[in-house]
């Protein structure tokens, strides 16, 4: 029977298309195997066989990974967030300033030391959400392009982070605050965030609305979706996750500096794009971004492993980002022809 004339009454679930994530996974496997082979040839040892190296690799990318999860849903809704790196800087400063030990005599707020860990965490998350809500409001209600709104926030939040202590770093956190970023904790945080967002995007109304707005804003509105309100929510969630990343970064470094998170926004966007999240909205998944993130990690640790110049690393990163977007365009054009 010709499948196109088959009635819907006989629903055939097995004929779902191969997900684009599979292609990206193959790219990841290809890159990993290349390093593995080069490893044996140049170094005489295995690249993938070293679990310590792999866990360090994941650790390196998981903080940006937290941001990338937030950015993924922004891009799916046909937006962009350039402010995440600066929000990391701002929230790192705020949360650290409320997390200092009482025994440190030059604390920023001497009256506010040894606070329970919930205080700096809540403050950091709150600042992140506020930044995100401002982004969302500007984009939804003044109709300025997301690129411009978040560019403004990027510059402003960075300026705020520098102003906060006039450029001085903040250090000496309480032990409980320092525990947040210790060891493999960031990886765990990332995994929880990714799992929650995966479920949210797939099974909740929030997720359905996000894809719908990205796929066709006007149709979403006519379907009864409050596009403006939802846009604010999406950017608020992105801000929240940037705030979370800021807390983790500060905690892990045991110090907060105004320059923390610089250019994280670009790496996060790159992870999402490499993971198949379409910059024209409506397409992409957390699974894809996860793979994109690991590709990033593999490249960084692979180059270190081969003792190749770090400059090559950056150049290759750039090439891969462009290649990922070209691949996305190609996929879309093929669809348009079909």
């Amino acid at each position: 029977m010709n499948t196109t004339t088959q009635s819907i009454a006989q629903v055939d679930r097995s004929r779902r298309r191969l997900p684009p994530e599979l292609t990206i996974l193959l790219v990841l496997v290809g890159i990993s195997l290349t390093f593995e082979i080069l490893g044996w040839i140049l170094q005489g040892q295995s690249f993938l066989g070293n679990t310590q190296r792999l866990s360090i690799m994941i650790l390196q990318v998981s903080v940006i990974g937290i941001i990338a999860i937030g950015v993924t849903q922004v891009i799916i809704s046909d937006g962009i967030d350039l402010s995440s790196g600066s929000i990391v800087g701002a929230t790192a400063m705020i949360s650290m300033s409320l997390a200092q030990m009482g025994s440190y005599e030059r604390a920023l707020y001497p009256a506010l030391t040894d606070l329970p860990v919930i205080v700096p965490v809540a403050a950091g998350l709150l600042v992140g959400v506020v930044c995100g809500v401002i982004n969302g409001f500007l984009i939804a209600y003044t109709r300025i392009p997301p690129f411009i709104a978040t560019l403004g926030m990027m510059v402003t939040a960075r300026g705020f982070a520098k102003w906060y202590t006039k450029g001085q770093p903040i250090s000496f956190p309480t032990e409980s605050f320092a525990a947040i970023g210790k060891g493999l904790a960031p990886v765990l945080i990332f995994l929880v965030v990714a799992a929650v967002m995966h479920i949210v995007l797939r099974y909740t109304r929030y997720g359905k609305f996000t894809y719908a707005i990205g796929a066709n804003r006007h149709a979403a509105r006519v379907s009864g979706i409050n596009v403006e309100r939802h846009t604010v929510k999406v950017y608020a969630v992105a801000g929240l996750l940037s705030g979370l990343a800021g807390i983790v970064v500060a905690s892990r470094g045991l110090t907060a500096q105004a320059g923390m998170g610089t250019s994280y926004e670009l790496d996060a966007i790159a992870m999402a794009v490499i993971g198949g999240v379409s910059l024209s909205g409506g397409r992409g998944s957390i699974a894809g971004t996860l793979i994109g993130m690991i590709i990033f990690g593999v490249i960084i640790s692979g180059f270190t492993f081969l003792r190749l110049d770090a400059y090559y690393q950056e150049m290759l990163k750039g090439v891969i980002i462009v290649a990922a977007v070209v691949a996305d365009m190609y996929r879309q054009r093929k669809r348009a022809k079909a």
């Binding site: 779902r16 359905k208 719908a212 066709n216």
Partner: protein, 512 residues
């Protein structure tokens, strides 16, 4: 010997020109996915004439013009320019071969000056190879004098009125020494005075031997400016006549004359109480004082030409672009509808006119498309969509409407137009609407799917749904509606009962 050969060749070309006129279109066919837009049409334009192209909305006029202007490529057929078969590869190619089009949506660059717009890509250069602005201005002034156009060449296009922009476009077309000029409803945004000025320019172009193809809906313009006219209907050629030989009724008959077959299975069903009442709905400059009522089980047709703002009225009622004044009453109670979401809570559903632009989520799958409206209101618990229930509802509805797709996980962009339309109807039926607004429910879909959708609409009315149906196809309006509201330029120009409504009466009210 040689010269006689050349003379013979010239004579051959001249003979061909004599037979063909300036531009000859023969056997053109153009198919879009799911719809045959042009089927073996022809058109012949003689030099120094204004040739009007007439037809209902969707007759294929604009498609043919886009083919002549090099925007679309025909699937079959021949275009001859002065007797020579020609392929028009792109708009630029057409322009260079002497065919210029003045679009309905003007195609000027807003932030550049008038002179820059006219001479773009052909700017005069000085001896350093830089653009010679003063020469460009002089050239523009000369051109404008020749055409009797009064527009400042230094002005930015964004500052011009629509009429002035149109003059600039015409001047640009003339500056290419075009021999064929296509005008797609050039007067739709002009005042009477501006129209007269435009006509005087058209007449002077005609005297210079230019052939003008003039698309219009307006009868009086046809008789005032056109020498000949050709009528299309449903993508087919109907006839060509001199405008002196016919009257208004003849043309209307040519445009609409066709039999209504059993395409429209209208069943008479009991009509109940008034569900929707619209009073003096107005958006200044768009539509004014729109009033009508709609009853349970009734299908109310909303007819009118393109530009009569029917869709704007529908969008206002559904809260997409709310009206600035006027009242909407649902079952006798005044309601405030400031967003689609508010409209839905009063039991409205709205199938938009443009399936691809404002209806479907093309890149998402069928299920996501069907459920999008439903889950804004129900079937969500603690933020989670009750997916198995919703999927079951969607599957049942898709089966009822006989949507043809391999499965519900197929991307909607891979479906035919008719099936996309059924999916959108399914989306709205899941919300159990009391008032269903349909804007061009069967546009661009094949005949079989059309009949199915008509049957569906009638069935819904029989179940007590109140239907407001906008349609540009008169047979559809006549075949489906219990009453017809006709709009003309943003106002209601008449209401006809099923018994008294005819194609000619509707056209009469719509075209004025």
């Amino acid at each position: 010997m040689v010269s006689s050969k050349i003379a013979a060749a010239i004579k051959q070309v001249l003979d061909a020109t004599e037979a063909d006129g300036l531009l000859a279109i023969e056997g053109i066919r153009k198919e879009f996915p799911g719809v045959l837009a042009l089927d073996n049409v022809k058109l012949r334009v003689r030099p120094g004439t204004v040739h009007a192209l007439m037809g209902e909305n969707g007759a294929g006029k604009s498609t043919l013009m886009k083919i002549i202007a090099g925007i679309y490529q025909p699937d079959a057929g021949e275009i001859r320019l002065r007797g020579v078969p020609t392929v028009l590869k792109s708009p630029l190619d057409a322009l260079e071969q002497g065919i210029a089009m003045i679009h309905q949506e003007l195609q000027l660059m807003n932030w550049m000056t008038v002179a820059e717009n006219i001479w773009i890509r052909r700017e005069p250069k000085n001896r350093f190879g830089l653009i010679d602005h003063s020469k460009m201005i002089t050239m523009t002034e000369e051109l404008f004098t020749r055409l009797n156009i009064v527009v400042n060449p230094h002005a930015q296009v964004s500052e011009l009125t629509v009429a002035q922009k149109q003059m600039v476009e015409i001047a640009r077309a003339v500056s290419y020494e075009s021999s064929v000029l296509i005008m797609d409803e050039p007067t739709s945004a002009l005042t009477d005075r501006e129209v007269q000025h435009l006509f005087s320019i058209i007449r002077s172009l005609r005297e210079r031997g230019i052939g003008i193809v003039y698309i219009t809906h307006k009868m009086n313009e046809l008789f005032e400016i056109a020498d000949e006219f050709t009528v299309f209907r449903d993508g087919k050629y109907v006839g060509t006549h001199s405008s002196k030989d016919v009257n208004r009724d003849d043309i209307i008959r040519m445009m609409v004359g066709r039999d209504i077959t059993d395409m429209f299975p209208k069943i008479d069903c009991p009509i109940g109480d008034v569900v929707l009442e619209v009073k003096n709905l107005t958006i200044p400059g768009v539509f004014h004082d729109i009033s009508f009522s709609l009853r349970r089980g009734e299908i109310l047709g909303l007819a009118g030409l393109v530009g009569s703002k029917r869709s704007n009225v529908a969008e206002a009622i559904f809260g997409v672009t709310p009206a600035t004044s006027g009242e909407i009453l649902v079952e006798g109670t005044p309601v405030v509808i400031d967003s689609p979401s508010a409209a839905m809570s009063h039991g409205f559903a709205f199938l938009t006119e443009d399936r691809k632009e404002t209806g479907c989520f093309l890149i998402l799958n069928c299920l996501e498309n069907i459920q999008s409206a439903l889950i804004t209101r129900s079937h969500v618990k603690a933020g989670f969509v009750e997916q198995s229930t919703v999927t079951k509802l969607a599957e049942d509805m898709a089966a009822t409407l006989r949507v043809k797709t391999p499965n519900l996980y197929e991307a909607v962009e891979n479906l035919s137009g008719g099936n996309q339309q059924k999916l959108l109807i399914a989306r709205w039926l899941l919300t159990k609407p009391r008032i269903l607004i349909l804007d061009e429910p069967t546009r661009g879909i094949d005949v079989g799917a059309k009949a199915e959708i008509h049957k569906l609409i009638t069935g819904l009315a029989a179940e007590g749904v109140a239907v407001l149906m906008i349609s540009s196809e008169l047979p559809e309006v006549l075949g489906m509606s219990d009453r017809v509201v006709v709009m003309h330029e943003g106002r209601v120009s008449g209401v006809l009962d099923r018994a008294e409504a005819t194609q000619v009466k509707i056209m009469d009210l719509a075209a004025r």
